[in-house]
Amino acid sequence: MWIIIAILTAVGLICGVLIWITNKTLPKEPASLAKAQEVSEHLPGMNCGACGYPGCFAYAQALSKDKKVFFSNVCATVLQDNTMLGGIEKSLDLVVDKNAMNKKAVVCCSGDCEKIGTYVGVGTCKSASKILKGFKKCPFGCLGLGDCTHVCPQNAISIDVDRKIAVIDPDKCTGCGLCVKECPRNIIKLIPADSKVVFRCSYDSVRDIPGREKCESGCIHCRKCFKACENDAIIWNKEKQIPEFDLSKCIDCGACIEACPKNVLTKLRVDNSKKEKVLSK
């Protein structure tokens, strides 16, 4: 009996020796990998790709090579989550000013405008915008076919069926920017999360397109908001003929919102109780 025990133990010994030898003879794994492994533990692991890398681990590898990547390609989910952010800060030895980087996406279009005809085709904004710049009179307005809703990892975007435009819930949005890339009309913009007023129109410099004049719900460049603001928080952009906001001066008084005759200015959190979620995931 002892013989067999000895033999079997020897088998174990051989196995151990083999592993040991393999370990010794093969080149050591690069240190960056271990670091990446560590970093990736603080990442959300959703592999959403919003950071611009194919997946969280790829992002982690990039981060472990150069921590500045965190600022150029920020992962918005990490930014929202204190424990993850803390972990990243610690493992990468970084200091992150969260507020400065925190963004919200807003749809810069405030409503349905007339249609130029009956669009019959593929029901995505990308396709619809390929033909005559979209079937809405405004060649810049939201088409409301919801391409953006599909990419949002937070399910923050829904389609307002009344106005036929996309609406983003600022409370859910993490500012990852995926929707910005998705929208073929480039009307989703990332604005600082502490913005008070949102200018919801994209119809700026290009004007006077016959048959495609600016829509009923868009900015008419009347400058009333500019005049209404008593704190100089609005700067009038002469070239584009639109208002711009100086956050530090805005006191959230709402005067400009009141003043706008076209309701193009709104608060970041609009009352969307009427909104019906139809097209979100």
């Binding site: 007339e114 249609k115 130029i116 005809g117 009956t118 669009y119 019959v120 085709g121 593929v122 029901g123 995505t124 396709s127 390929k130 033909i131 005559l132 079937f135 009179k137 076919l145 919801g146 809703t149 599909h150 990419v151 036929k164 016959p210 048959g211 004049e213 097209l279 995931k281």
Partner: protein
């Protein structure tokens, strides 16, 4: 990512854009741009602006029409009983599809594919199978082999065959009881199907072939008459509903294998469900490859496996299983068998050229 939503949108959009003649509003805008007319009744769409107009549903119904041949033969050979089997199967298939579509809040479109599935399933069953089993089989076909995948066009496996295989494994006793055509009575005697172990035919080979050609043998209710199936197949090919490659290559493979292994060729071709499967089931668009070469590979695979099972396997018949097995290979074939695009050059060659 999300096919569901997109479909919704398209539908939605179509509804939003209903053609409403009352909305024809001529609006004249602007001075410099006088007589610009914006009309709601203007269509805008991408090219092409014309369409051949043979819809999927039309194809399905033509296919269904060709199935009348074996169906009528089934009633002729096996009596009303065969009719009830067919009715139960089709009705269940359509009903289950309707229920699932409703439960998923999707539009139910009567496009005939469920009818085909139901009818084809029925035609592959033995004539005296209890009706409740037919119902289970048809429900399985539609629910677990078609609709779970997303419905028409998305399924991987041929629903009718999956249903048949399910029944064959579930209720082997019932699925292996064959009857000779003609005796409709309650106490009809079982008989062996030509491919069965204990099939003994008293008579000349010629008589056997004749019986098999016209359909006077035991077998599944739709598969017995070689003549009608060939006729339907020729019609389907002529109307360009099915691709000639699959049935022809399938049968040819079996013929070649029979030659190699010294089997009776005519018998192999006409016995069992080979013709039926080759014409009606292997040709299902959804579950077979889309390219010509892919289809040939698919058909050769079907033929080889059918022969393998018939000759070496325990099952007397291999058509059902072989098509199902090849259905499994279809995505792989489609992935790797692709036509070379027009003017394709190997990457290095292209570089050299530049």
């Amino acid at each position: 990512m999300n096919g569901t939503n997109k479909e919704n949108i398209t539908e939605n959009n179509a509804e939003n854009n209903v053609l409403d003649d009352s909305k024809v509003s001529d609006t004249t805008v602007g001075a410099a741009k006088d007589n610009i007319i914006v009309r709601d009744n203007n269509f805008i769409s991408q090219s092409p602006h014309i369409w051949r107009g043979i819809s999927s549903a039309k194809i399905m119904y033509i296919f269904l029409a060709s199935l009348i041949f074996p169906s009528v033969a089934a009633v002729y050979f096996f009596g009303l009983r065969a009719f009830w089997v067919m009715l139960a199967s089709t009705a269940t298939a359509v009903l289950v599809e309707l229920i699932i579509k409703k439960a998923r809040k999707k539009r139910f479109k009567m496009d005939g594919s469920a009818l085909i599935t139901g009818l084809l399933l029925a035609l592959t069953l033995p004539p005296r199978i209890p009706i409740w089993m037919v119902v289970i089989g048809a429900a399985f076909s539609i629910a677990l082999a078609k609709e779970v995948f997303g419905g028409l066009g998305h399924n991987i496996f041929n629903p009718a065959l999956a249903g048949r295989a399910f029944l064959a494994i579930c209720f082997p006793t019932f699925m292996t009881q064959w009857y000779l055509p003609g005796n409709y009575g309650v106490d009809a005697v079982t008989s062996a199907s030509p491919l069965s172990e204990n099939f003994i035919f008293q008579g000349t080979n010629m008589a056997l072939y004749r019986d098999m050609f016209f359909g006077n043998t035991a077998g599944s209710i739709g598969e017995t008459s070689a003549m009608l199936i060939i006729l339907a197949g020729i019609l389907l090919i002529a109307f360009r509903i099915i691709d000639w490659k699959i049935p022809l290559v399938y049968v040819a493979t079996v013929v070649i294998m029979s030659l190699i292994f010294g089997e009776d060729i005519l018998f192999q071709v006409m016995a069992g469900g080979l013709l039926f499967g080759a014409v009606f089931m292997a040709t299902d668009y959804v579950t077979s490859p889309v390219t010509g070469l892919g289809r040939i590979i698919f058909a050769v695979g079907c033929g080889l496996i059918t022969f393998l099972i018939r000759r070496f396997g325990a099952m007397p018949e291999g058509v059902c299983f072989s098509i199902l097995v090849m259905n499994g290979f279809t995505p792989l074939i489609d992935r790797y068998i692709r036509p070379k695009p027009f003017g394709y050059m190997k990457p290095q060659k292209a570089k050299q050229a530049k």
